[in-house]
């Protein structure tokens, strides 16, 4: 019951935010919400499924680029080419870009593309029972390769600069505070809906099976389930969520570039989840928002300190509170109520 009350409270807070925050701060909050959406996906894959994915930036990027390409084409000049292509001397729209002009295709690509890539990788990796740290390393290598590819294909992807200079998001004017408020509202709604959807999955039979796979994969296999499929589907779902967040990030922040997607940003996405508590969806969301807020604060006043703080946070959380702040809160509540927790059969 208390969970439902806090959920309503959070939704009310999100709804009130545009009335009290300046347009600049509201934009920042919308950015944090994008990272919170990714965090929900990570909490599902890592916390529930035990798959530490270090390549979430790839899926975030696929969603972001799918959206960015479409928005770029809407604003294209008379030749039908995005501005950066004109600068790098591209004369005809590359074939890869052509389908993006269709809004339905672009919106579908936002979720289908990351989901497909993750599904394929998951199938190839999990079928062969490659797991744990191996999987983490492979997902990290994917992030490294993806970024190098994006940077290397200047004429196709905008290279290091990525896609930027967006003035409109479909019918909305991004230069106008009103339009940006609507973008914020869409992002907030996406976060709430994603959270509820993943919560449903976690509570379903599939969610129970996922935890079973995490805790004892072989036993689940002997019971007649296919753990590889369960993990692949979960991994793909977390990728879809990340793609959605990436697509929203484009109108919210106005840029999608390789610097946001590589090995380091992918790991940064985990900081919030680790801090908030990987086993708790709400903890992951709160952690992601808190960490990104802290990052803004530090970058404004004390930029060198941020890396120390981030590194230190990782170390402190893992040493003293491996279940994150959500774990600390739970432990405190249990002690306060003095009610013995139900024993879970091992």
């Amino acid at each position: 019951m208390s969970g439902r009350i806090s959920l309503v409270l959070c939704v009310v807070l999100l709804a009130v935010a545009p009335l009290v925050l300046s347009p600049f701060r509201l934009g920042l909050l919308a950015k944090y919400l994008c990272f919170a959406i990714v965090a929900v996906g990570i909490a599902l894959a890592w916390g529930r499924g035990g798959m530490l994915t270090l390549g979430q930036g790839v899926f975030f990027g696929l969603g972001g680029y799918a959206m960015g390409m479409h928005l770029k084409l809407r604003e294209a000049g008379p030749a039908g080419l995005p501005d950066f292509m004109v600068w790098s001397g591209v004369e005809e729209l590359p074939a890869l870009w052509k389908p993006s002009a269709n809004p339905v295709f672009a919106l579908a690509a936002v979720v289908v593309l990351p989901g497909l890539v993750a599904f394929l990788l998951g199938l190839l990796v999990f079928r062969q029972r490659v797991r744990g740290a191996y999987f983490a390393i492979l997902s990290q290598a994917l992030a490294a390769a993806f970024v190098i590819l994006l940077v290397g294909r200047q004429g196709l992807t905008g290279g290091t600069n990525g896609l930027t200079n967006f003035s409109r998001f479909f019918a909305l004017d991004l230069t106008d505070p009103g339009g940006r408020r609507v973008v914020y509202a869409i992002t907030a709604a996406a976060l709430v809906l994603t959270y509820l959807a993943v919560k449903l999955v976690v509570r379903s039979r599939f969610g129970a099976l996922l935890v079973a796979v995490r805790d004892h994969e072989d036993r689940v296999r002997f019971l007649g389930y296919d753990p590889a499929l369960v993990k692949t589907i979960t991994f793909a779902a977390s990728a879809v969520v990340a793609g959605l967040a990436g697509a929203l990030f484009v109108p919210v922040v106005g840029i999608i570039s390789p610097a946001l997607l590589g090995v380091v940003p992918s790991l940064e996405l985990l900081v919030g989840v680790a801090l908030g508590g990987r086993f708790s969806l709400a903890g992951a969301v709160a952690g992601a928002i808190a960490v990104n807020y802290a990052k803004t604060l530090f970058s404004e006043d004390f930029p060198e300190g941020w890396l120390y703080l981030q590194g230190g946070l990782f170390v402190l959380v893992l040493v003293f509170a491996p279940r994150g702040l959500a774990g600390v809160v739970e432990a405190a509540r249990d002690r306060f109520r003095r009610r013995p927790r139900e024993e879970v059969a091992g």
């Binding site: 190839l124 744990g132 191996y134 990290q140 590819l149 120390y308 590194g311 990782f314």
Partner: protein, 292 residues
């Protein structure tokens, strides 16, 4: 054909660098299940050690730097193992994040101490230039790195095969519980493995000063590829690491030549995934009775 042969030493030297880095990783990962993301920063420490010694010793500092970097990086690794990693055995994913946190702090520390811009280590005169063998140009510095890697592999091989410490290490890699039952102090073996692995990273760092500038981000550039070598080679196996480093080094060298640097990385990744379809345990796997 000439281009094909010319690419050979480049592939070989990429392989040598990868091998130097992966040697330490494969043993800490294979023996303790520790995914040490801070390994890249030990490389950086080794490189900066060479940079500092260059100012202090002068001309022949490179040869002094090799043992000193081994000691500095090794002791740093020992400190990390003793202070933090010790508490994390059996939680490989947590060690990954933990050591990444450590690596962030070390990188920022390097940035504060040495400054963000790259610094340069001048190679000694006898490493400048190259020789022509059968029409193939062999730059001296790349020959030196390859020889260094071969020497390190030989050293580690002898350590594992001949010394009692090496035998204990092999025992712990194969079966930790049984080794402990037989009276081996596994904690002490873990510490010496970490010292050795981190020290080798320091040596790799010195070698890297010969082929490029030194900066705070030096380690992150190589760490991902080195982990791919570990995964493809099989955990804790010297032979696997050598084979995988050679394969990935040549693959990188030739693919960069045939396509370009950006596509090469993607193709190498695809090749590793494809290889894992055939041999999910890596090239050289430990035979065991465990499932999966």
């Amino acid at each position: 054909m000439a281009a094909l042969a010319n690419q050979l030493p480049i592939g070989l030297s990429i392989a040598a660098v990868l091998l130097l880095i992966a040697l330490g990783l494969t043993f800490t990962f294979g023996q303790m299940g520790v995914v040490n993301m801070a390994h890249g920063e030990f490389i950086m420490v080794g490189a900066y050690t060479a940079y500092l010694l260059q100012g202090a010793v002068g001309g022949q500092s490179l040869l002094v730097a090799l043992p000193v970097a081994f000691a500095v990086a090794g002791l740093l690794g020992l400190l990390l193992e003793w202070s933090l990693i010790r508490r994390f055995y059996g939680r490989p994913l947590d060690t990954l994040l933990l050591t990444w946190g450590v690596s962030l702090v070390l990188q920022q520390l390097a940035r504060d101490v040495f400054g963000a811009p790259n610094v340069q280590v001048t190679a000694p005169a006898w490493l400048v230039g190259g020789v022509d063998v059968l029409g193939v140009r062999l730059p001296h510095n790349r020959v030196f790195i390859t020889a260094l890697a071969a020497l390190c592999v030989l050293g580690v091989g002898l350590y594992l095969a001949k010394l009692p410490q090496g035998r204990r290490m092999r025992a712990v890699v194969q079966n930790r519980e049984l080794a402990a039952c037989s009276g081996i102090a596994t904690g002490r073996v873990d510490r010496s493995t970490f010292l050795l692995g981190s020290g080798l990273a320091g040596v790799a760092g010195v070698a890297l000063t010969l082929v490029g500038p030194v900066g705070p981000g030096l380690g992150t550039f190589y760490i991902v590829d080195a982990f791919l070598v570990v995964v493809a080679g099989g955990l804790g196996r010297l032979r696997g690491a050598v084979l995988a480093a050679l394969a990935l080094g040549f693959l990188n060298g030739y693919l960069e030549f045939w396509t370009d640097a950006s596509l090469a990385k993607v193709l190498v990744f695809v090749a590793v995934i494809a290889f894992l379809q055939i041999r999910p345990q890596g090239m050289v796997a430990l035979r065991g009775r465990s499932l999966g």
